[in-house]
Symmetry: C2
Subunit: 340 residues, 2 copies
DNA sequence: GACTGGCACTCGCACGGACAGAGTGCCAGT
DNA sequence: ACTGGCACTCTGTCCGTGCGAGTGCCAGTC
């Protein structure tokens, strides 16, 4: 029906105008700025219907309309296409990320880049341990009965734990332990390392059994602990830009949620590497983020997402552009980590 | 002179009241809340003098007085004593920090703890590389001509770099390289590692010269780079508490400075472990922090500060309590890192 | 039946005056 | 040297008014 067509067109126009002007948009302004081919009065009728359907709302009687979460949702799903980045932006991504010296540096640059491109808060998750494989295990003796265990993954993460042994350990045992561990674990996915541990306990040389047991249990702890999924946050200053309507009252709860990390990590756990995920306002199912949107995607090869990255901002954001930026950065980071 | 005595007493009272009530304080309120033994009129005279001397100021004519940076400085230097922490607080520190599994965890807990204790933004610096010694150097081959170099310090930091070698390397060379490097560097302060490198180039076996050269130069880069001084920031949500007077206009520049890190790190470079450093407002000599105070101290043993930690907040803060908290946390962190 | 122009209506907001309250500075008195 | 009293200044607030934006509705037109 031509009717519905135009109504959606009106919704699209409202979203676009509101995002760019930062002001509730009225029928007259819409008619002026867009070629809808109808008069403000007609647009008003359409708006009344859109409001009834819950796509838009007015902050107060004599103000223009503002999209609701549902309105943004429809916009993202059906009314917009991801806007390709400019060549300059692609260049910027490369220039910004090349020259990173290690994983920490890559992620630090990524979060700054993303914050700068989108002018929102950026979040980047460390490659999930459970999706990494062991590249090397190092054992360093720091005291007679204390070992430092260092785990290096193929994704560049380095985790360390101190292990207290029941008895003193000599240098030979350390050497032996190191080669036993590496022989058993190198190349193994961490998610499957649990199984290997039991194997190892049986096959390990007699005199090392105790040591291997102690060390292995620490190793397992390191992996099981899901809180070890780290998050880098940047660009929080961007929260202070924008409209008073953007966050009701204060940005405080958002800042708190970002520091909590847990909240964001939970959202992040749902990403996959092929499609950009958008969570709008109340969809986030967490009070602090009820007035925020979260745009994220997994990075890594398409068949294996190593972790996620994304942005957090007001629901009033430029979704097409931001989705493009998030996707582009994720791709580049994926390449970067794959080849290191 | 009894005069001056009382005037300082008045200043102290103003600072205390302003910090706790968040409102400019007038002569009457002062007379009511403190036993100064004189009438409001007399206090007014004292205040006029204090204002003339630049210790206090009034936001506008009919408001009470507010301390200036200079006023806070005098308060910190001469009018306050560091307030000891309650037993409960000391308990909280121990409970909070014990059970940390590695350096990252220690610093993460520290920053949360400090933010919670002081209700300000907390910053913690990673142990400075230049003040750490090598505990172990690990070389992992990740491709025919690519090595991963992992540096573990006695302070628990782990740094990694990828090294591209000119020619392919075989497993034996890697092993040899590893032992040569460890023999040369283990126990050496990183600040002095530069000297060792040239020694090593001469003493290393002929066939390893090239390899040692390439690896060493990367190693040096890692250390020279001062940007590798990392910073953990937490409790930024606390910036949104408090008075409109606290930060003129917006907290934005403060957030930006915290993300920059460089600014804070430069301030942090001046800490020592024995005395708590307080920088008030304009003293920070950086525009973004002109309305903020920075309270910091070094951690580590008293003779060797490994790094710094502190808090950033409005100049209107409870200095005695916050200084105590910063010092107490630094001590505990120092112990913790010393024994690991 | 769909669209449009016109019109009355509702609000929020900016402006301005009046007012109360807080706080000061000054002065004369003890 | 201190104090009580007093006039003064300034801000924040409340209220009434007018304006403008934007709407909803209705009668009229294609």
């Amino acid at each position: 029906m031509a009717h519905d067509e135009r109504r959606l067109e009106v919704l699209r126009a409202i979203v676009q105008d509101y995002v760019s002007t930062n002001d509730p948009v009225g029928s007259k302004a819409l008619a002026d700025r867009h070629d809808l081919g109808v008069s403000p009065a007609t647009i008003r009728n359409d708006m009344a219907v859109l409001e009834e359907q819950g796509y838009i709302t007015q902050p107060h009687t004599s103000a223009g309309r503002v999209p609701t979460d549902k309105g943004y949702r429809l916009f993202v799903d059906r009314l917009s296409s991801v806007k390709p980045l400019s060549v300059a932006e692609k260049r910027a991504i490369e220039r910004f990320l090349d020259g990173a010296v290690d994983l920490h540096d890559v992620l630090g640059r990524t979060v700054r880049l993303l914050a700068q491109l989108t002018r929102q808060v950026a979040v980047v998750q460390y490659p999930s341990l459970s999706r990494s494989a062991v590249r090397h295990l190092e054992v360093v003796q720091v005291a007679a009965a204390r070992l430092l265990l260092v785990l290096i993954t193929d994704t560049g993460r380095v985790e360390q734990r101190v292990v207290e042994t029941q008895t003193d350990v000599d240098a030979d045992s350390v050497r032996e332990l190191r080669s036993v561990l590496n022989a058993a674990f190198v190349g193994v996915q961490l998610a499957e390392a649990g199984d290997k541990v039991s194997d190892l306990l049986e096959t390990a040389p007699e005199h090392l059994r105790g040591l291997v047991g102690t060390v292995s249990s620490t190793l397992l702890e390191t992996l099981v602990e899901p809180s070890e999924d780290r998050l880098v946050v940047g660009g929080t200053a961007n929260l202070t830009r924008g409209n008073a309507l953007d966050f009701p009252g204060t940005v405080r709860p958002v800042l708190e949620a970002l520091e909590e990390q847990v909240v964001v990590l939970r959202l992040m756990s749902q990403v996959d590497a092929s499609t950009v995920m958008v969570r709008i306002g109340e969809e986030n199912a967490h009070e602090a983020l009820a007035s925020a949107s979260f745009v994220s995607v997994g990075y890594g090869s398409t068949d294996r997402a190593l972790g996620g990255l994304g942005i957090v901002g007001p629901t009033r954001m430029d979704y097409p552009t931001n989705m493009a930026a998030v996707r582009a950065v994720a791709r580049y980071v994926g390449h970067l980590l794959a080849e290191s």
